[in-house]
């Protein structure tokens, strides 16, 4: 049985239809990515999948039960880090541990937080406020915060979208390490706009067509052995094939949308960003 199942999800904001007929299921321990261009409704889809917002139609099933609120045993990494600026890096992580494991003694909660900060290489910066950290370091703290609660499901909303290319690839490798080191298999759903990032990290990839009324492609499996090296993936035959299939779907969606209203100047304004 699938751990998470999205059944015929639709979402509209007022008259604007963002998602239609979205179906997706995640098996326990699977890493699934959804690629889509900006403003295609990716973030809405993720927020629906984790229960932060409700769908306009359809159901989200987690572990056999319908989802009404944010999933238990799940955590999420936001694109914009979303650290609390008045807490230090350590306190940010500790707050998550405290809330998830209130029965633990204080010392153990602190140890857990410190352990995960060290895992992302920020042991030395534990006392610093987010404003004193670089973008990459902030996202590291956010990742540590998510893993420190040892979640069963991990949602990643363009986790590296705001970072430069170098930092991005370092953090991707760290994410892989954390997933492998986790005490129990982590099921992950990642939203990204980078096909290469998706190939590097995922077991399966789906593409989200361009909105309005975006929907998912069929899943493209990534049958590549792990660990994967980003530079080898560029020329690997399998990955080239996966990339081609996804790119085809993404550009077909884009072209289809454009040809639907060739001289309609309103077409531009209709694709206003759904989530920044």
């Amino acid at each position: 049985m699938a751990l998470i199942e999205l059944q015929d999800i639709a979402k509209s904001y007022g008259p604007r239809c963002v998602l239609t007929h979205v179906n997706l299921s995640l098996e326990e321990g699977e890493f699934v990515s959804i690629v889509g261009t900006s403003a295609s409704g990716k973030t809405s889809l993720l927020k629906i999948a984790c229960g932060l917002i409700g769908p306009s139609a359809g159901h989200v099933i987690f572990n056999g039960a319908p989802v009404r609120d944010f999933l238990g045993e799940a955590s999420i990494v936001f694109q914009n880090y979303s650290l609390l600026p008045w807490l230090s890096a350590l306190e940010n992580v500790r707050l998550a541990v405290e809330a998830s494991y209130p029965e633990w003694p204080k010392a153990r909660q602190r140890e857990q937080a410190e352990k995960y900060l060290q895992l992302v290489g920020l042991g030395a910066a534990a006392a610093k406020r987010p404003s004193q950290l670089s973008g990459g370091m902030r996202q590291r703290v956010a990742i540590a915060r998510s893993f420190a609660v040892e979640p069963r499901v991990m949602f990643l909303d363009e986790p590296f979208g705001a970072l430069d290319a170098l930092t991005r690839s370092t953090l991707q490798q760290e994410l892989i390490k954390l997933c492998q080191a986790a005490a129990r298999p982590v099921t992950a759903l990642m939203i990204t706009n980078s096909v290469d990032e998706a190939i590097l990290l995922s077991d399966r990839i789906l593409a989200l067509s361009r909105g309005p009324g975006a929907t998912l492609s069929s899943a493209v499996p990534v049958p590549l052995p792990r660990p994967r090296a980003a530079d080898l993936l560029l020329h690997d035959e399998q990955s080239v094939r996966v990339r081609a299939r996804l790119s085809e779907f993404l550009s077909a969606g884009a072209a289809g949308h454009r040809s639907a209203s060739p001289r309609d100047s309103m077409a531009v304004s209709r694709t206003v960003p759904v989530e920044a």
């Binding site: 999420i76 979303s82 008045w86 707050l95 809330a99 998830s100």
Partner: protein
């Protein structure tokens, strides 16, 4: 440092202009207005021996101001003790806001001169009536700014609270309160300014010792120079209070 000296010099020019205008007026069109030098002559006893107590309503200006400050502190404390939770309620619940905001908007513009008689009727004593008036007049900026701050908590932080599954208490102390604190302090600063504004009215009507009571008594005793002394003192103390709150606020924002 040099910049500060220059800025102080500039502000002294402004003050000198005011004194000049004051001398001019008292020398020409307003013969009842004591000139600056006459004001100083008649007031220097109160200024140079600010803590002297010669009688109930005949005390040094420092002592008078201190009475008023204590009264303001009590009223202000009462105002923020009531105003802050009220602001949180208004900010956190749309329903609460809809129910109480119109009433608050009606109560807000009511002058202290209108509240004070009601306070006297209710409490039959001048001191609690004065505190009642100060609290009631000065709490609105705190209420409104706190409510605004709560409504303006970024959705990101609220999402974090939800995602981390924080309990009610942690949600309040780790997310709501720190996110609202700068707004609250802006409210406190405005409230303190209002409380100081109200004190004079409250003391004038109740005749209690303090800077406002002294002012009213000296008006009745026809010692007009002391009115000017009181006005200057009220202005300077109010300025100092605002600066202190401003410093506290700046420190908070930096933290």
């Amino acid at each position: 440092m040099k910049k500060i000296v220059i800025n102080v010099l500039f502000s002294l020019v402004g003050a000198a202009c005011l004194v000049g205008l004051w001398s001019l007026l008292s020398a020409t069109v307003a013969p009842d207005l004591p000139s600056p030098s006459k004001t100083w002559e008649e007031s220097k006893l109160y200024v140079l021996q600010p803590w002297d107590k010669r009688g109930e309503m005949d005390q040094g200006i420092g002592r008078m101001a201190a009475y008023s400050l204590v009264r303001v502190a009590k009223g202000f404390l009462l105002a923020i003790l009531i105003g802050t939770p009220l602001g949180f309620l208004l900010g956190s619940s749309q329903m609460f806001f809809k129910i109480f905001d119109p009433t608050i908007q009606v109560l807000r513009p009511i002058s202290p001169l209108a509240w004070l008689p009601l306070g006297l009727v209710l409490f039959r004593q001048s001191e609690p009536a004065a505190l009642f008036t100060i609290a009631l007049c000065s709490m609105w900026p705190t209420v409104i700014n706190t409510a605004h701050g709560v409504r303006d908590i970024p959705q990101d932080y609220l999402n974090v609270a939800k995602v981390l599954r924080l309990g009610v208490w942690r949600r309040f102390t780790k997310v709501w309160l720190p996110a609202t604190l700068p707004y609250m302090f802006t409210g406190y600063r405005l409230s303190l300014g209002l409380a100081w504004l109200v004190i004079v009215a409250a003391e004038m009507l109740t005749g209690t010792p303090g800077i406002g009571g002294f002012l009213w008594q000296e008006y009745n005793s026809l010692i007009y120079s002391h009115i000017l002394l009181c006005i200057l003192t009220i202005g300077l103390v109010g300025f100092a209070l605002d600066r202190l709150m401003g410093l506290a606020e700046a420190r908070l924002r930096a933290a």
